[in-house]
Amino acid sequence: MTEGIATPGGGWRRADGPPAETRGKKRRKGGRRGRGEVAMVDDVEFTSYYGRPVIKPPVWKSPEVQLYLFFGGASGAAAILGALGEFTRRPVMTRSAHLFAGGGALASVGLLIVDLGRPERFLHMLRVFKPTSPLSVGSYILSPFSALAVATAGLHVLGRWPVLRRLGAVGSAVFAGPLATYTGVLLANTAVPSWHAAGTQLPYVFGASGMAAGGGITMALSPVAEAAPARRFAVTGAVIELAYMHKVENDHGIVSEPYHEGKAGALLRAAKACTAAGAAVTVAVGRRRAGAVLGGALLAAGSALTRFGVYEAGMASARDPKYTVVPQRERLEARKNEHASTITR
């Protein structure tokens, strides 16, 4: 057969690269994987342009964005707890939840603005509403949430107008759920392989992680006699976070890999340890003051580490062309085979 330019492949390889058999081959670093876990991906071969990334990694500021994700989730969850607390006899828990929610909301707005290349143009976010842009939708969630949450917290500090305060609490609670979960969509609706693939799971991870942190912090700031709902809320969140994070880390073949490796892997292992320990401490000794503080701190740390880990995994998957090229190649091959099988049938 005629080879060369006339035949696909034709034996061509990059002149300065390694021989064809090893090009683009990456060996999984050993020893990282815990016992009982299965290696998801064998060595893969792929081609790239001098190892350059295909997509551009996010240019967001670190750690501002990760903290934004953390505060959005935690203050959202706390606001919901606070709103419900308004209608039960738990004045201190309600107050702590709202003070944290208000503070977290302010921090979120600040962090979001600081992250813009042109912070003075923050209000340009509100000149259009685009459902295709999670950041646009998020601006319309964050703006009313932060206004209402800060107002509610302020009324708590003033100690006046309880009816208005309750209205504010309920209002902020309406936006709180979406605020805690939209950030998952924010990350996933990009071309970043490890985020995009987990697009329907990240909202659960972030929402549940917010529950763990928001519930945990509220619990730590409240007298134990009042904090029973916060404890349950936080532990539920921790369990759901661990379950969904497990899916994110294992469901997606090669693009799950960055969640296990390097800095992201270390962060996420620490996150899991903190979250699990926090939940255990809360269940065991959460009814004692010291236990509540320790449990709350561990849960908040676990939640923050989850955000940092997920963010880091996405960055790693964006920087390495492997995670863009290999899944797309597999998709193409699968389509080709499907096509072939329909023809032969």
Binding site: T7, I55, G117, K130, A188, P203, E226
Partner: protein, 355 residues
């Protein structure tokens, strides 16, 4: 008054099928322009005739007064990338055309490209079985100057180096694809990115607030932020020139017509014909990239003829617009939000009221 929407067609109410991806016959009208809008324009970059002269890069930099940067996008730095003759490195805020250089070699103990008689191949190392298998190969080979043999013999992109090695050059001028379903445009929260009357995708510098969301949302890694400026920049297909009836600077400067500018439908027809010609001449690795309107981005306004796999040129082999999967993600976020409220309610109701 027409309102020009910067949202994806699926959400403008004008797209009954709610298409976030797939073919869109009139992308300009879908964005809200009147009947009489100009035809959609585009680039057809035929890399088989690119000589890597970088005239397009220079013309683009000059016309758009782009600042200098090195191959990693660092401003005001000169640096050698070590990537063949490519010191541009990538598309970015300051490089809107990027000529990729790929030097390839192969050892010739592989079956040779032989259209000649046995023993007539360039190494002279024995008869080639190929010629026997193809009695009509010679006739085919003589049919045109631009056949596979000629390409490897005379084309600047392929040649012989030493006795046991063959080299070829792949050069390709990359650019923003002006996607039918542009990820960058879909996710822009300010409406800074918009669809022009020519069907292209352009950033409005006075609107962009530098949120950076478009940067990781482009499946091709085209758009980027200029850090000292804070805003994002990318190819405008010379919007200013188009409105004055001129060709974009790169297409004007290209000496080999590797970059062709024109109405998109006409370019597509021309590209199909060019591909057929090359296939006829035995160049089986030739393929169009970004031409297929059924691909993950609904086809590109700027598409390519490539001689190797897309990833060899640094292009994604099967890009999809991220927004295709957005409805599922929104659904998950909604359910997760309900889950939080439900869990909070459960936690409160199941706890005994303190006295």
């Amino acid at each position: 008054m027409t309102s020009i929407s910067s949202a994806s067609p699926a959400f403008t109410g004008k797209d009954p099928k709610n298409r976030l991806f797939g073919p869109l016959p009139d992308v300009t009208a879908e964005a809200g322009y009147d009947e009489g809008h100009p035809k959609r324009v585009g680039f057809f970059t035929d890399t088989s005739v690119c000589i890597g002269c970088k005239a397009c890069e220079v013309a683009c930099k000059e016309w758009n007064t782009l600042p200098m940067d090195d191959s990693h996008g660092t401003r005001d730095v000169i640096g050698l990338s070590g990537m063949s003759y490519d010191n541009t490195g990538q598309l970015g805020a300051n490089s809107w055309r990027h000529v990729a250089f790929i030097e390839q070699v192969r050892t010739v103990d592989l079956p040779m490209p032989t259209f000649g008689r046995p023993g007539d191949d360039r190494q002279g190392n024995g008869p080639s079985p190929a010629a026997h298998d193809h009695p009509d190969a010679q006739a085919l080979g003589q049919a045109s100057v631009l056949n596979a043999e000629a390409l490897s013999e005379f084309d600047p992109q392929t040649g012989q180096s030493g006795s046991d090695k063959q080299v070829r050059w792949l050069m390709s001028s990359d650019v923003c694809k002006h996607c039918t379903h542009a990820g960058c445009l879909d996710v822009c929260p300010t409406g800074a990115l918009f669809r022009t009357e020519f069907g292209t995708v352009v950033v409005q510098g006075d609107i962009c607030n530098g949120c950076g969301y478009c940067v990781p949302s482009c499946p091709y890694g085209v758009i980027n932020r200029r850090e000292d400026d804070g805003r994002v920049f990318k190819c405008t297909m010379c919007y200013d020139r188009l409105t004055d009836g001129l060709m974009p600077a790169c297409a004007t400067a290209c000496p080999t017509q590797s970059i062709q500018f024109g109405d998109l439908d006409e370019l597509q027809a021309r590209a199909d014909a060019r591909l057929a010609t090359l296939k006829d001449q035995g160049v089986e690795t030739a393929r169009l990239y970004g031409r297929d309107e059924d691909d993950g981005v609904g086809g590109n306004g700027a598409f390519f003829l490539l001689l190797d796999e897309p990833e060899v040129y640094g292009l994604p082999p099967d890009p999809i617009v991220t927004t295709r999967d957005l409805p599922a993600m929104w659904k998950a976020a909604g359910k997760a939000a309900v889950m939080i409220v439900g869990a909070a309610l459960g936690a409160v109701l199941s706890s005994r009221r303190p006295r």
